[in-house]
């Protein structure tokens, strides 16, 4: 188990390194001189030259990459152009909001999707199954920003049940949670559909397995068979799906943060692009890549915890 964990961690480091390389190439290939961009049109040639010197832009490209690469691993992602604050600090300030949003989205999708999929599988062919099927396709088909806007209009503007914008008072957990409900629903609702369909399909498959027939042949109660014997296996593809889907959730989070004017990594990168704050853009991309890789690793570890067959192949 432990060796597996370190192997996976090593792989994660490789993936992050490749991502850094691609990011470096993109920054390097962006037309224009970063020093001129940073200093604006009215800077003198001497000012540009000294900044270029300070930024290490006069050094050979491999050395530049190495500097970028090694300092990124040390947590130095450069400084923000205007305020001069370290990019890592700026990104990490915003990260908890996005993590909360994604966690909320996963909670919604799992809390609704798994029971619905289970219900549909157990009552296969009934009206309940058909309604779940139609709803699943519907929520998958609607883009999350549309869901976000409608959720905002209905629950915040029309019904006034929930707050419309922001992330809530800092330090007031209840207020922050109520502010989380709508945006996380917007992020997670499409996933309710994916998960319900996935769980339904794998439940139907597992319920046909011979070990389920064995369980029935011992007269185990239906509830134990459905939840303990079948769902514990049928859940596995869903965990994998969620692990892969984290990337898509991150992009829905960007829209949700903009629509609900929430702080977060999405909002940060959006504003940074508008203000051509490139160190923040590349730093955010890097941090989200690491996040994505780590959450994927987490999904794999969860699979290992749930499935002894996977665990012993570690």
């Amino acid at each position: 188990m432990l060796t597996y964990f370190f192997k996976r961690l090593g792989l994660a480091a490789v993936i992050v390194s490749v991502a850094m390389f691609i990011l470096f190439c993109m920054i390097y290939l962006i037309p224009g001189d970063p020093a001129s961009v940073a200093l604006g049109p009215r800077a003198t040639e001497e000012m540009r030259a000294s900044l270029r010197e300070a930024m290490g832009l006069n050094q050979p490209v491999p050395v530049q990459f190495w500097n970028f690469y090694s300092s990124a691993w040390m947590g130095d992602l450069g400084t923000e152009v205007l305020s001069g604050r370290p990019v890592l600090t700026v990104v990490l300030e915003q990260l908890p909001y996005t993590l909360a949003l994604i966690a909320g989205g996963i909670t919604w999708s799992v809390a609704l999707g798994i029971p619905l999929g289970c219900w549909a599988a157990v009552s296969r062919g009934s009206w309940a199954d058909r309604i779940v099927g139609i709803l699943s396709v519907a929520v998958i088909a609607v883009p999350s920003f549309v869901i976000a806007i409608y959720a905002l209009l209905i629950f915040a503007v029309q019904l006034r049940w929930l707050p419309a914008i922001g992330a809530g008072e800092p330090g007031d957990l209840g207020d922050q949670l109520t502010h989380l409900i709508l945006p996380s629903l917007a992020v997670g609702l499409g996933w309710v559909g994916y998960i319900a369909r996935m769980v339904r399909a794998s439940m139907l498959e597992v319920l046909e397995a011979s070990h389920i027939r064995t369980a029935r042949a011992f007269g185990l109660p239906d509830r134990m068979i459905t939840y303990r014997y079948a769902l514990s296996i049928a859940i596995l593809p869903t965990v994998t799906l969620l692990g892969v889907g984290i990337g898509q959730m991150l992009s829905s989070a960007v829209f949700a943060e903009i629509v609900f004017a929430r702080p977060g990594v999405g909002k940060l990168v959006y504003d940074a692009i508008l203000t051509r704050n490139f160190p923040v853009v590349s730093g955010t991309v890097l941090v989200t890549t690491v996040l994505f890789v780590l959450l994927n690793l987490l999904a794999d570890l969860i699979i290992g915890a749930l499935d002894p067959r996977v665990r012993s192949s570690f």
């Binding site: 011979s210 064995t214 042949a217 011992f218 296996i233 749930l306 002894p308």
Partner: protein, 328 residues
């Protein structure tokens, strides 16, 4: 007392191409403390019969007529789902064919063995102890440690012995074994069969043993039921069936099996021709299209002929043994 008395059982599956008459007028008994073997080609309705007994027929299957009397009291065809569930496990336990897939892959063996004792009031430790005792009985090495392990950590033969341990732990009145050794190699098959016979005597239950190995049936069983295309074509004691077969199908099976009961064959010998489509059963004898003794009378359904001492064959010429006919 008869553990299981099946009388005139008919089962049909509704299919897209119309009803499929999978079991037709099936009758036989499983007496107390005896091992009854069911032999027949694949597709002849062995699993359907088991599922009908267990109340686990597929949704499209139904029992149209007949009775399955358990311990002289309950007609299993008339019990509701909850009552059937109460019988499955404590009264009727089952070992299925597939040792690889018969146990849940994500629940430890010990937990599965504890779960099936959910009706019992004893403590969890006592349940675990019973599981250990049973695993020792089926000769699983290091039985206590085995409780914490998962099915994939055992070999096929061990898994099948664990399945047997689970079934017998319930101390059932009837043990059903659906081709429990088919997936095992010959050596494992012998040890598993011997173990099963041993335990049956210790526990004192009746066994309904399904197989298509004639040799295994001859070795293990007291009585034999020969099935063909959803019908019991012949039944009797092992001696009656193997020494004096009266149905042409049984005779052909034994004839085609050169080694007879002494040697095992991996599958039933082949007889030229095919099983008729069960969706369009012939009006007369079901075996007529493959029978070497077919004659005019066979266009009508043959009766169950009792040729003496409970030896019954569903054939018009059952009372005329083949050897007699050949010399006449």
């Amino acid at each position: 007392m008869t553990t299981l008395a099946i009388d005139g059982l008919n089962v049909t599956f509704s299919t897209e191409d119309g009803p499929l008459h999978a079991l037709k007028n099936v009758s036989f008994d499983v007496p107390e403390n005896r091992i009854v073997g069911i032999v027949g080609e694949s597709g002849c309705g062995k699993s359907t019969l088991i599922n009908a007994i267990l109340g686990l027929l597929a949704d499209n299957g139904s029992i149209d007529s007949g009775s399955i009397l358990f311990q002289g009291r309950d007609d299993l065809t008339k019990l509701g789902p909850a009552q059937m569930r109460d019988l499955r496990g404590p009264k009727i336990s089952t070992v299925f064919q597939d040792p690889m897939g018969a146990l849940n892959p994500v629940i430890s063996v010990g937990q599965q063995m504890i779960n099936i004792q959910y009706r019992s009031d004893i403590s969890k430790q006592e349940k675990a102890q019973r599981a250990v005792d049973m695993l020792e009985l089926v000769r699983i090495p290091d039985a206590r440690a085995a409780l914490a392990r998962y099915p994939h950590q055992f070999s096929g033969g061990m898994k099948q012995r664990i399945a047997i341990a689970m079934a017998l732990m319930m101390e059932p009145a009837l043990l059903i074994a659906d081709e429990p050794t088919t997936a095992l190699d010959a050596t494992l098959e012998v040890t598993t069969i011997e173990l099963l016979k041993d335990l049956q005597q210790q526990i004192g239950c009746s066994v309904l043993f399904i197989s298509h190995h004639l040799g295994v049936i001859a070795e293990l069983c007291d009585d034999v039921v020969v099935m063909y295309a959803g019908e019991v074509v012949e039944r009797g004691t092992v001696r009656q069936i193997f020494n004096d077969p009266r149905h042409p199908y049984t005779a052909r099976l034994l004839e085609c099996d050169p080694a007879r009961q002494s040697e095992r064959t991996r599958s039933l010998p082949t007889i030229p021709g095919e099983i008729p489509d069960l969706r369009a059963r012939p009006r007369g004898c079901i075996f007529a299209n493959r029978c070497h003794r077919v004659h005019d009378a066979c266009a009508a359904p043959p009766p169950d002929h009792d040729v003496g001492d409970g030896h019954v064959a569903r054939c018009f010429v059952a009372n005329v043994p083949e050897t007699v006919e050949a010399t006449a």
